[in-house]
Every structure is written in C-alpha cells, then in structure tokens.
C-alpha cells in the first residue's frame, strides 16, 4: 500500500491525471500475456519526461516501493506482473521517435514507441531495422530492449541486442546515465549498454535508446515448403545452414499449428501436411534468386512434397503475418495456452522436434510446435485448461523435461522470451550457482534496495517450477 504522503508526492511529480490507484485502474495492469499470473499493483503512474522518471524512482527508493516498468505487457515470462505490488510505470506519454539520423544510420526513440511504428518510420526513409518480434504491432521498444527480443529475421540479422547503440537509463537511485553512443567503435569502460539489454527492468528504467539501422535490402522472396515428415522438415533447416546459406527467415510450423493459424487467417494454408517451412531471403535480386533456387533444391532433396514461391508481395506478407499469429491462434483450442521458448544449436533442431513429440506422447498432451527453426528457437505450445489441475501437473512435468532436453543438447531454457518469474526457478539449470551469484552481485550493486522489478530473474529459491500459481 502506498501512504497518502507518497501518493501526494507522486501526483505532484506527474500531475493528478497521470497517477491512478483505483481498483480497476490497478487491475488492468495486474497481468501480462503470461498465462496464470496475476497480482495487483498499488498504483499506476505515467511520467512524461526522463526527469519525472528520475524523481519517481528516487522517491520509491527512499520508501522502498517496488517499480515495475511496463511497455505493452506482451511479454511471456510474467515480467510485468507486479508480484510484489508497488508502482507500475507506463510509457504511454514517452512514445515519440526523437530522431532518424540518415548520416549515421541511427534512430533515437523514447521507450514507449511501438516497434512496428518505428520500423515503418525508418523504412519510409529507405532504412531497415531488422528485429521483428511477432508481437511488433503492439510491443514497445522499451520492452524489446529489456527482453532482448528476437524475431522472424533473427537468423540472418541477429536480435535486438545487435542493434542497441546507446541508452539513457535512470538508475535505481534516481541518477540519470548515458551509455554508448552513435559510435562504431567504443571501448571506454564496461559495456553497460549490453548489460541493460535483456535486463528485464531489474537494473533501472530505460528512458531513451539509439538503435542501429542498415540500408533496406533491395528485394525479398518468400516460399513455403510442405512436408509429410516432421523430421525431414527439421533436417532441411540444418541442411540449408550447412550449405552456407543464411536465409532471412526460416520458420517451422507443425500440423496442429497450421490448422489453428488457417482457422484464423483463412489464406489457404495447407492443413493436410505434417509440417511446413516458411523461408524468406532478401538482398540483391541475383543473390536472392540463386539462394531461393538452391534452398528449393535442398527442400526437395529432403523429401518436401511441394515447394511454392509466393507470387506477390501481398501473398508473402499474408504468410508471414499468419505465422506471427501462431501463438495467439493456439489459444483458440483450449482456455489456457502454455508456451515455451527452449532453444538449441541449429544442428540439433531435428533431435529437438523429435524429442518434443516423444515427451508430448509420454505425458498424453497435445503440443503444437512452431518457431524460429533457423535460430534453433522453438515454441512448443500446449493448449490446456488451468482449471484441470491433474493435466496442469502433467504439462509442468513435460515442460521440465523439454528444458532438460534443450540443455542436454547444448541449448538454453529461453531464447527470446526472458526469465521473468516464469523461468526464474530454472535459471540455475543454465547458469549454475556461480553464474547466478555473479548476476546477483551486479543486481545488488546497482539496485541495493531491490526496488527495480523485484521477484524477476532471480527465484527466491531454485525449485521445481510451478506452472499453476495461487
């Protein structure tokens, strides 16, 4: 609970209209896109400037009030669920594109800018910002940076981290710092920019970011390869990479996913095949042409039943848009949708796909698998019902086994969705005790009072994960 005194001070900082603490105002920020997590904050605040953010943080630090920075709340790890109450910090006023620098090829934004709006703005100037999470229509740049989000183009172009050049950060004590710059080279001190990327709001508040842009590729081609054999599709992925072709997109969708996506998008996706690969290449026309031809050959050699190239830009766009809807479309099947984000080296993708299916069988679960196959990043998704406790327990065990398998194959528990509360108990599996201790030292150094998004990343104790809360 916030004391009246604190409330008055907060209102004095942002104006009465930008602070709310009524029940319904708090309720609508009690959740994010992660199933089964809900917890009420004590108040919601919408600062307009970095200075206001700094004053808010200073006040909260004094009174040890938790702060949960929140973009669009589309994260999938419970990252913005205020599990310890406190203040939800919104960037709905801090959502401007500040500058597109066509000489240095950078864009500078406030954290509340929606990813796609920024992408459209830079593309209008012939520039390109590659990271394109499926949620880009709603996700904010603040969220992307703090989750180090990936996307469909990650394979060739990397993830958010590879594009963040400079940040303005409000530290947990209210100090404002600037990291990095519009520089191609810079070794002055520790690389704090990288530290803050993927920090999930636990080390400070990002109030401004400068991102790298590249020239927009000349052309782009999209194709769909159809398979009657899951493993063949997965093998194609490793084969393409082994043939030294890096397509801009290499996505995998299995039959159950295809069915729900087609149900929503109605664009004539094949639902009678076991799996498809959505493949895209961009660049100079000759190169694209050559790569597409070569990849089609590989697909055929790996027993693809058919390979179709999209004839128009609209057709291509419809395919990628449909793929982006996959996760939410799986939610059609049953009330609760549990999704994971395990990632393995690309060469292990076939083993992983196979393993997931075996685990699904073992626990008698329906699992839809889709994902950024080219990155080795799969999203096994289980449609279930949180009210069915017996089944939820099986889901939990199955996913624990999927994590274990991923790590065994040299992979990780999360490729792009972050740790949050959801995966905190598993972090030690990946990092070991020492790794966690090193991270904790950074955390307590920068945020000694643990006010920045407390309860995230670090679990109270490393226990067997609970999928069901309450």
């Amino acid at each position: 609970m916030l004391s009246n005194d604190v409330k008055q001070k907060l209102k004095a900082i942002v104006g009465v209209e930008n602070f709310e603490d009524s029940k319904s105002a708090c309720l609508v920020y009690s959740y994010d896109a992660t199933p089964n997590f809900q917890s009420m904050p004590d108040g919601v605040i919408s600062p307009r400037t970095t200075q206001e953010v700094s004053e808010i943080v200073k006040l909260c630090n004094e009174h040890k009030i938790p702060i949960v920075p929140r973009g669009s709340g589309s994260n999938l790890c419970g990252g913005t669920c205020p599990t310890e109450g406190g203040l939800v910090l919104l960037f709905r006023h801090m959502n401007k594109i500040l500058e597109i620098d066509e000489e240095n090829l950078t864009v500078t934004v406030q954290p509340g800018v929606v990813t796609l709006d920024m992408i459209n703005a830079v593309e209008a100037k012939g520039l390109f910002y590659p990271p394109d999470p499926s949620s880009m229509k709603i996700s904010t740049m603040g969220g992307n940076i703090n989750e180090n989000s990936g996307g469909l183009r990650g394979l060739k172009y990397g993830v958010t981290r590879d594009y963040v050049m400079a940040l303005e950060v409000v530290l947990a004590n209210g100090d404002i710092i600037r990291t990095g710059g519009k520089l191609a080279k810079d070794v002055a001190g520790y690389d704090l920019t990288r530290l803050y990327v993927g920090s999930e709001g636990t080390l400070g508040v990002i109030t401004e970011a400068t991102l790298k842009l590249i020239p927009i590729p000349e052309t782009k081609k999209t194709m769909l390869a159809l398979y009657q054999d899951l493993e063949a599709a997965a093998k194609t992925v490793s084969k393409i990479i082994a043939n030294k072709i890096i397509p801009s997109t290499l996505e995998f969708l299995d039959q159950p996913t295809l069915k729900v996506v087609e149900d929503f998008a109605q664009i004539g996706l094949p639902t009678d095949v076991q799996a498809v690969l959505l493949i895209e290449q961009d660049g100079p026309a000759e190169v694209v042409e050559k790569d597409m031809k070569k990849m089609a050959e590989i697909c055929h050699a790996e027993k693809a039943v058919s390979v179709k190239v999209a004839q128009t830009a609209e057709e291509a766009e419809a395919l990628t848009t449909a793929r982006r809807a996959a996760l939410s479309a799986c939610a059609r099947l049953k009330p609760t949708t549990i999704l994971e984000d395990a990632t393995v080296p690309r060469s292990e993708i076939a083993k992983m796909v196979n393993g997931i299916n075996k685990i699904a069988e073992k626990y008698k679960l329906d699992i839809c698998t889709f994902g950024h196959a080219g990155d080795g990043n799969l999203h096994p998704t289980c449609p279930t019902d949180a009210r069915n406790h017996e089944e939820m327990e099986r889901v939990e065990e199955a996913f624990a086994e999927i994590f274990a398998l991923a790590i065994e194959l040299g992979g990780t528990i999360t490729g792009e969705h972050g740790v949050g509360v959801m995966k905190a108990p598993y972090l030690e599996w990946k990092l070991g005790k020492e790794g966690i201790a090193a991270m904790q030292a950074i955390k307590s150094g920068l945020d000694p009072n643990n006010i920045m998004n407390p309860g995230k990343v670090f679990a109270k104790d490393s226990r067997k994960r609970l999928v069901v809360t309450r």
Partner: protein, 443 residues
Amino acid sequence: MTTVKEQQVIQEQFKERMNQDELLNCMRCGFCLPTCPTYIESGLKEAHSPRGRIALMKAVVDGIIEPDEEVERSLELCLGCRACEPVCPSGVKYGHLLEEARDIINQNKKHSLPVKMVRNAVLNGLFPHQNRMQMVTGLLGFYQRSGMQTLTRKTGMMKLFPDHLATMEKVLPQVPTMKKMKNRPEFLEALGPQTKRVAFFKGCLMDTMFLESNDATMKLLQLAGCEIVIPPDQACCGALHGHSGEKDAGKELAKRNIQAFEDLEVDFIITNAGGCGAFLIDYDHLLKDDPDWKERAKAFVSKIKDISEILYELDFHKKNHLELPEQVITYQDSCHLRNVMKTASAPRALLQAIKGIEYREMKDADRCCGSAGIYNIVESEMSMQILDYKMIQTKATLATTVVTANPGCLLQMKLGIEREGLTDKMRGVHIVDLLLEAVGQEK
C-alpha cells in the same frame, strides 16, 4: 450511482451468466489494442482497451474486484464496434461478452429518472413500432417543411443543445411525407430475367427517415434480377436493445422477425444497414438457449446478406453500365458490416467499377466513425474526438464523395462534414444511392 447492494447482485449474475470459457479464451496477447478506437483516443489506457475490458469482466467473475463505477465506465465507453474481433487470433467473441455484461448491469441498476425515461421512450415506445417511427419522422418532416426549421435555426433555439446535436439537426435528411411512408410495396418483380427470389429487411430508420435509400436498394435488387418480397409484419431488428442491455426486448423482436420471414421461400434476406444486419446475423446466438427457436434462428441467419454482397455476387457491376461525373470517392466501412458480417471487399469492388470516378482508400477506413448506435448522443465527447480523427483521414483523400453503408455512419459522416465546414465541397451518401445514380447516368 450503483449501490453496494446492486453491485452484489450484479457480481452474482456475472458469475452465473458470463461465459467463463470465452473469458479464459483471451490469452492477453494484446493484438487487439491497436485497433481499438477508445484505447487510442483515451491516450492508451488499458482500461479502455478490449484486453482491459475482458480482464475487468473476468475479475468481477473471479471476485477480485467489484463491479464499481469505473468498471461500468469502462464498459460504457466501449463503442461496441467489434474491431477487436477479426484481429483476435484466439477468436474471442468480445461482442457477446460485452452484450451479456451490459445486460446484467442494466437489469440490476436503477437508472436516474430522466435516463430511464429516454431509454424507455426510445427502446420500448418507439423503435419496436413502425407506425410510431413514422409519426416521429413525420413530425420531423412537418418541422422541416413548415418553415419551423428555419424559424428555430434563426432564433438560435438549437443553441440550447450541445454543439454537435445542434449540428446533427442540420444534417438530418429531408424526410419523406407521411403518405409515402404508409404506402410501402410488399412485392416487386425482377427487371429483366429473374435469377433470385429475395426478401428485403427494411429496417425502422431506413424505412422512414432514409426511405429513398430503401427505394434505391429495391431498385438495384430488381435490376440485378431479384424478385423481392417485403413482408409487412417484420419488426425492428433489436440491435439498439441488444447493445444497450435490453436483451429480452431484443429476443422478442428477433422472434417476430424470424416468424415474418420464415415461410417466404426466398434465397436470401437482404439488408442495407450494417448495424441491423450484424444483429440479425447473430439471432442464433441470441436465441441459443431457447430450444423452440434455436434451429429456426439458424435457418434465418443463414440467409442474411448485405446489399453490396449480393450485388457483387450477381455481377450487378458487370451487367450494368455504371458511370458518374468525375469525382474522387472514398469509402468508410460500417464497423458491423465489416467486423461481424465480414463484408468489406464487395462495396469497394462495386465502387471501383463505376466509370469516370477515382476511388481512393482512406487510411484507417476500418476504424469506427464514432456513431455507434446512440453512442454519439450519450458519449458525445469521445464520439466527437473519434470523428475528428476520421475527418482528418477523409480530408487527406481529397474525396468529394464519402460513401457509407449504414444510416448511423451516414449521419455521423454528414455531421463530420458539417462540423468541418465542408458542406459545399463534400457529400456523404449511402452506397445504394450512389450506385443508383451511377446506373441512371448511362441514359
């Protein structure tokens, strides 16, 4: 004010009546946020977004919060435009959730006396009775023709009303005479070879205030080769009732309509108002718990089609030469026609088939204009904010003709044109009137 006692009852009914599976079906991905006009215009407040509204409804069901004033406010401010539905990959039927929640709140809440009187007069006294609709429209006609309109305008009497209502009064169409309204056809033959037999749902507002558009609709149907039955015992569609939390009244009207249309042996039942059509097409949901009516409702629903859709399917635009003097035309979607009846490309294709015109798509044509039934009267501030955005986009097309497919949208767009002072440069028309104009140009 809703009293604590009322809140308790409302909460109980939420638990009993709200569809919990549907509430859980929302996985909170937020894909619907950028399409929601009230989320955008409220300055990105989650409480005024579809995801927020669903969360509030669910929290009331779960007993986490009470259905207090703010919950009510969030639901009231929703346009019911249902733009959040087609973009939702999980297929959440938001419209049904909203309707149920509003019905529960309304049934258990004591409205203040004036609000109650207006609701009662409009919803129960007026719309279900075609003869009374004619009377009121008739009075309006008398007002327009007798010179009283000029008089009231001159004396500035309309200044006593909120700004936009005063403007609204100016844009109301010249209404038909009482005699015309009473003398409606019940059967019309196809012009040329007959290909289909259809029934026409005339709608209360369309058959009074917008009678000419109804005549145009029937003329187009005839030209397209349809024989038309217009059953005289049809009733108001019930949309206004359904959307304002008077579900039972809506059900009664639904039954009357199903009965009126069921033995006509027609291929389709045609509407020319997106708002009505969307409610008609939902009768099977409305009557899903009524075993005597469920199947009959399904049969009725399977025949509902919008005028643009049938004209397009029957190749009206290919079989008739359509031509108009040079002008730029743009189209504003009717939310319910697009989001519920899924008719969006047919009207555009018909317009693009007209020779001599240039068709320009406006940005965000699929975003609500803010009319939304009686929303522009009860939530005028938000409605006008939404309309202002719509007019920016309309003006950007440099169109001189704005086409709509629903009477409410038509009035709202006319209001927008008037508010912008563009009456000399821009006109708002119903698509059927424009198409008929285009057929006429041939001779």
